[in-house]
C-alpha cells in the first residue's frame, strides 16, 4: 500500500513542478491528437451529414462498414500505415515514419469513423422536417445542410470530442508510427508504457493523472457549452 501512496505523492510532485519530460509528453499528445481531431472533423462531419441525409443504393452497406471501422484496432491501423510510410512502402520517399505527422495520419484514420458515425446518429435523431422545410422555403441543398448542422451542433461537438478521446488515449498508433522518440514523438500514453517498462511507476502515474485531467477538462468544457 505504501508503494502506491509514495508513488502517488511523487507523481503529484512531478506534475506540480512542471517536470520537463512530463511537459513534453503532454505537449506532443495534445498537438498530435488536436491536429488529428481537427482533420477527422473535417472529414468525418461531411461523411456523417451525407450518409444521414442522402438515400442511395448501398447506403446500408456503407453504414455497416462505418460501424465496423469504429472498432478498428489501433495496432491494425498502426501496422497498415507502417507499411505505407516505411521507406520500403509506397509513401516511403516522404520520410514520414517516426514523425508526429505519421501519428497524426494514423490517429485521423482512427477518429474519422467515430466522428462520422456519431454525426450520422445526430442527423438520424434530428427532426426530419428541418431539411424539407428549408428546401421548401427555397434554400439550396448546401444551405439546408447548414441549417441542419446548426440544429444538431451539440451532437456534432460530442462526436468531435469522442474522436479526441479516442486518439488522445490510444497507444498503438502512437507507438508504432511515432516510435516513442524523446522530445519528438513521445506522447503521454507511450511515455506511460515506457516508464512502466523501466519500472518508473511514479512517472507513469503522473502522466496517467494528467491524461485523466485532460479528459475531465474536455468534458467539462462540453458540459458548459451544452448548458448555454
Amino acid at each position: 500500500m505504501n508503494y502506491l501512496i509514495d508513488s502517488l505523492l511523487k507523481a503529484l510532485e512531478l506534475i506540480f513542478s512542471f517536470d520537463r519530460e512530463v511537459r513534453m509528453a503532454v505537449g506532443t499528445s495534445l498537438y498530435t491528437s488536436g491536429c488529428a481531431t481537427v482533420l477527422s472533423g473535417l472529414a468525418g462531419i461531411p461523411i456523417g451529414l451525407w450518409l444521414g441525409t442522402s438515400r442511395f443504393l448501398g447506403r446500408r452497406l456503407a453504414i455497416t462498414l462505418l460501424n465496423t471501422l469504429m472498432a478498428l484496432p489501433t495496432v491494425v491501423v498502426g501496422l497498415l500505415l507502417f507499411g505505407l510510410f516505411s521507406r520500403q512502402g509506397p509513401l516511403g520517399p516522404l520520410g514520414l515514419l517516426f514523425t508526429p505527422l505519421a501519428m497524426i495520419a494514423g490517429q485521423t484514420v482512427l477518429a474519422t469513423p467515430i466522428v462520422a458515425n456519431l454525426v450520422l446518429a445526430a442527423v438520424t435523431g434530428a427532426d426530419e422536417r428541418i431539411i424539407k422545410t428549408a428546401l421548401t422555403l427555397g434554400a439550396t441543398r448546401l444551405q439546408a445542410a447548414r441549417q441542419l448542422l446548426r440544429e444538431i451542433r451539440f451532437g456534432v461537438m460530442a462526436a468531435v470530442i469522442a474522436g479526441f478521446g479516442r486518439v488522445v488515449a490510444e497507444v498503438g498508433v502512437a507507438m508504432m508510427l511515432g516510435g516513442n522518440i524523446r522530445n519528438s514523438t513521445r506522447t503521454m500514453t507511450t511515455a506511460i508504457a515506457l516508464e512502466t517498462s523501466k519500472g518508473e511507476f511514479a512517472f507513469g502515474l503522473a502522466l496517467g493523472m494528467i491524461l485523466l485531467g485532460v479528459a475531465l477538462l474536455v468534458n467539462l468544457g462540453l458540459n458548459l457549452l451544452q448548458q448555454r
Binding site: 498537438y31 488536436g34 491536429c35 481537427v38 482533420l39 473535417l42 516505411s86 521507406r87 520500403q88 516511403g92 520517399p93 520520410g95 515514419l97 517516426f98 514523425t99 508526429p100 505527422l101 497524426i104 516510435g179 516513442n180 522518440i181 524523446r182 522530445n183 519528438s184 514523438t185 512502466t196 517498462s197 523501466k198 519500472g199
Partner: protein, 266 residues
C-alpha cells in the same frame, strides 16, 4: 464562431508544417538496454549540441533495430548481436561497423534458487539445470540481442526449451526482469539493465563470468547505396564521436547506483 471556423484549417496547417522546419535529425535505432539504462541520456546531448542536430532514438530490440536499418527507416543502428551485425553488413545493408563498448550478460534468479545454480560459472550447464528442475524461466522472446544470445546458450546446452515453465514474454529487458521478479523465475539479462533495475527487483545474479556471456555493442551506418536518403555525413560524425576519447570517457564514466555499466576496449 465563424472566424474560428475559418481559422481552424489555417492553424492546423501551420501546426503541421512547423516541426518540419526544425534542425537536422539523425535517426538511431538501438536496443532497450542503452536507452533504459540511461546511458544515451548522458552520451547524446554533447554531440547534439556540438553538431546542432537532434538524435531521434527508437529503442527496440536488436532484431527490430536491424530490420529498421534494412528498410532504411533509420540512419544508424547501435545493437548487440555480432552474428546478426556481420550478416547485416555482409548483405550490403550497413557500412563502417565499429565496436563501441561491451558489458556482459548475467543469469538472474530468485534468492530461493530452486534450480541450485547460484555461483556457477557455466551458463549453458546452469540453463540445463533450470530445464531439469522445470524452474520458471522468462525469455525475452522478441528476437532481441539478449534473446539471440539466450537461444545460443540453449543450443550449447543441447536443449530446446518448452513447457509451462518457459515463458516467452515478447517484451523489453526491463519488463522481463519485472516479470521474472513477480513470477519468482530466472532470466538472462545484460548487466547494465540489471544494475539499473537493482533497486526494483529481488532477483540476484546467479551466474556470471562465463566467456559465453560476453556482450559487445556495435554501431553501423546504413548503406547509402541501398538507401540514398541516409544522412551519411552526420552518421559518420556520430560514429567518430562515439569512438572518440570524449565518447569513450562518457561511456566508461557512466554510473548507475555507483556501478559502471559499460566498458570500452582498450
Amino acid at each position: 464562431m465563424k472566424t474560428l471556423k475559418r481559422l481552424l484549417p489555417l492553424t492546423a496547417l501551420l501546426l503541421i508544417a512547423c516541426p518540419a522546419l526544425a534542425k537536422e535529425h539523425l535517426r538511431l535505432a538501438t536496443t532497450t538496454s542503452t536507452e533504459n539504462s540511461g546511458l544515451l541520456a548522458e552520451l547524446l546531448p554533447p554531440f547534439e549540441q556540438a553538431s546542432n542536430c537532434q538524435i531521434d532514438v527508437i529503442a527496440v530490440g536488436t532484431g527490430k533495430a536491424i530490420k529498421l536499418g534494412e528498410t532504411g527507416d533509420v540512419d544508424v543502428v547501435l545493437v548487440h548481436a555480432r552474428s546478426k551485425e556481420d550478416k547485416f553488413v555482409a548483405d550490403g545493408f550497413g557500412i563502417d561497423r565499429r565496436d563501441v563498448m561491451y558489458n556482459d550478460f548475467v543469469i538472474l534468479g530468485p534468492a530461493a534458487d530452486p534450480a541450485g545454480i547460484a555461483g556457477s560459472k557455466d551458463a549453458a550447464a546452469a540453463l540445463g539445470r533450470i530445464a531439469t528442475a522445470k524452474a520458471i524461466f522468462v525469455s525475452r522472446g522478441d528476437d532481441s540481442g539478449t534473446h539471440t544470445r539466450e537461444k545460443q546458450l540453449w543450443r550449447a546446452a543441447g536443449i530446446t526449451p518448452s513447457g509451462s515453465w518457459y515463458l516467452e514474454a515478447g517484451r523489453g529487458m526491463g519488463e522481463v526482469i519485472t516479470m521474472a521478479t513477480e513470477r519468482g523465475g530466472y532470466t538472462l539479462s545484460d548487466r547494465g539493465t540489471y544494475l539499473a533495475y537493482k533497486t526494483k527487483t529481488d532477483l540476484k545474479i546467479a551466474v556470471e563470468g562465463d566467456p559465453g556471456l560476453f556482450n559487445p555493442y556495435g554501431v553501423i551506418v546504413i548503406n547509402p547505396q541501398k538507401h540514398p536518403h541516409v544522412k551519411v555525413g552526420l552518421a559518420k560524425k556520430f560514429l567518430d564521436y562515439l569512438t572518440s576519447k570524449q565518447g569513450r570517457d562518457l561511456i566508461t564514466g557512466f554510473r548507475r547506483g555507483g556501478e559502471q555499466l559499460f566498458y570500452v576496449q582498450q
